[in-house]
Amino acid sequence: MSHPSRSGYWVLIVLALAVLVPLFSLLTQGNSSDVVGLNFWQSHYLRQVLFFSLWQAFLSAGLSIALALLVARAFAHHGAFPFRSLLLRLFGLPLVVPSIVAVMGVVSIYGSNGWIPLGRSLYGLNGILLAHVFFNMPLAVRLLLPVWQSIPPHHWQMSEQLGLNRWQQWRHLEWQALRESLPGISLLIFMLCLTSFAVVLTLGGGPKSTTLEVAIYQSLRFDFDPHQAVSLALLQLGLCLLVAWGSSLFHKLPDVEISLSNTPLNTGIVGRYMNTFVITAAVIFVGMPLIAMVIDAFNNSILTVLSNPGLWLSAGLTLLIGISASTLSVLAGWLLLSTSTDYAMLGKKRKASVIEMLGSVVYVVPPLVIGTGLFVLLAPHINVFEWAIPVVILINAIMGLPFVVRTLGPAMRQSKMRYQHLCENLALTKWQRFKTVDWPLLRKSVGLSSALVAAMAMGDLGVIALFGTPEIITLPLMLYHQLSAYLIPNAAVTAVFLLGFCLSVFWLLEKLIGGKTNAEY
């Protein structure tokens, strides 16, 4: 295999074109404002925003990951937990909850009239962390769980024989296996928290809690200062690259090949109780706001909302956007990973992780900025109303790429490490290899990544409002319309409908693509 696949470079080039060209086309707009000058960069405000963005993202991501490690470990050690796979599927849900609905859900639980009232102390860092852990911990659990399944069973047996305690097991087995995926997963969660907007602003208690994302929104929307918006977006991208570089220092591809197994592990009776406790606590934490949303939805506008044909049209459109974005994203991710795993096979691990990282970090360029840029670029040449859907799909596909890299990457690397030589030796053509080897071995991971990206795209309000195409109303947009028309009970119903709809699509995609085998991760 002296020639690694080049396809990943094409993906990176297309990605760069799709993100950077709109950014620079924005620079042709508006007058170069005085604010971009040193004055702005030296301002106390910007320094504070920078500090706060990073601080809250570090804390949120750190907490989410730490808790997710505990929960994923408990899930891994407790293969027989009742409703395990249903619960794990439920953990894919917070990802799709539109932020405003999540805020309401969190407030239903921890607000002054909630089940666990935290009063005013909810607003500030507490609220931000609560909401971010609610959003991201379940996702991290889903992403981390396969790592446990990648530890070969005889390693567990060996550790048992050696009499390793839980900590030693963790240090010698689990931690070693985690070193491959943990930096990437942490980076993804970090990016999700860094770009959080409505959650931070609303639960943050005031403008003290301002993230860069807010500042970008402000400069593009209220101040209409594209130059400043682009500078800030690039700053955010730069920061993220820096963090990505830092996290890659901890990154370690496994020296030995690892195997996919799913043997239940023996844990002592104490361990068993611990695991049950951890899982139960996590399920309660994630479940409560979701249940609160469902309770809110039991009001007398259920029939009005569900009998509105507009709702079903929107559902169809939302589905179209979700499925197309996820197809595109998985396809691009596959090509990108083909190249990076080829490099990893050749021992060029550094190059491999750089390629994967470049494919992921574009996530932090705000869709509003890309969308506005694309608009500037396209509006003079085409009828933007007709192109709204493709553009929304494109942007969602770009935003989904880091999810694909995280879910499909390790599986693809493993399959290549193990079967690359055999396939070459057997002289399988690319297509034969895809059909008989790659697809059957990777379809489970492909199923999970398509489900994640589709769900994310479906719950995203995104840039659809930017185009204002009259016929195009997605479910999240409909939800916002209802909220701004005081129809809060209707919005509650729509929110739960959206959740249920996303859950079914998630389940279907995992089943259809992932195949009959019990979708475990």
Partner: protein, 238 residues
């Protein structure tokens, strides 16, 4: 006849543990199993990978019956390699795993089908067509891999510690199978093993590989008794 002439290779600096230049010269006769022994990291497996084309040599040539093959892609080389593990795709049954060797598109003619069945029968796997690799023992799995090598009928057979996970009786049996196969099909085979007994069983000639070179090549029994050479002594232990 397989001949290897001045084949040079050096791992990139990234692989710090084995970054010395290697150079190999060797011939294997048709119908012969040549064993390769030597310390870990000496370059035995690397030599096999060079022949199979997984690693590209910087210099030298590999000839099979006079034809140079070192520039061909792995898929184009008349080589079958059997690894220590992961020779079989876990999601495909025994039959399909062997059939892949016959025709990767899996569209087999009646004769080809029969050839697959025959090969399985030859290796004592009759009736196991529908079994999944996971349900087989380690020995059975390696036999399936050998069955696949059998149907491929390639001139070169490379065994990379293929029997390392098997017990003595099973190894003996497998080596006997390989011997018949190599003789019947007039293959050139290379066997990498950590067990000098394997070499004794399988090969008239054995090569001792040391520090990226064929250090000594001789009749197996003689080579294993060369107590005058410290390298070999050290490897075999007291």
């Amino acid at each position: 006849m397989l001949s290897i002439e001045g084949l040079e290779f050096c791992y990139g600096a990234t692989d710090a543990n084995s970054s010395f230049p290697m150079c190999f010269d060797l011939t294997v006769n048709a119908g012969e199993i040549l064993s390769l022994i030597g310390p870990s990291g000496s370059g035995k497996s690397t030599l096999l990978k060079l022949i199979a084309g997984f690693n590209a040599a910087s210099k030298g040539c590999i000839k099979i019956n006079g034809q140079q093959i070192q520039l061909l892609s792995p898929a184009k080389r008349p080589v079958t390699m059997v690894f220590q593990e992961h020779n079989l795709f876990p999601h495909l049954d025994v039959y399909t795993n062997v059939a892949l060797g016959m025709n990767p598109s899996l569209q087999l003619t009646v004769q080809q089908n029969r050839a697959v069945d025959d090969a399985l029968e030859n290796l004592g796997l009759a009736g196991m067509q529908k079994r999944s690799p996971g349900s087989l023992s380690g020995g059975q799995r390696q036999r399936v891999a050998l069955a696949r090598a059998l149907v491929r009928k390639h001139a070169i057979l490379l065994l990379d510690e293929a029997f390392a996970a098997l017990g003595p009786a099973q190894r003996e049996e497998m080596i006997a199978l390989v011997k018949t196969m190599v003789e019947d099909q007039n293959m050139c085979a290379l066997l990498v093993s950590h067990q000098p007994t394997d070499a004794l069983l399988a090969s008239k000639r054995t090569a001792f590989v040391h520090h990226g070179q064929i250090f000594k090549i001789d009749e197996t029994e003689k080579l294993l008794n060369r107590s005058d050479l410290t390298e070999i002594n050290k490897y075999l232990g007291a």
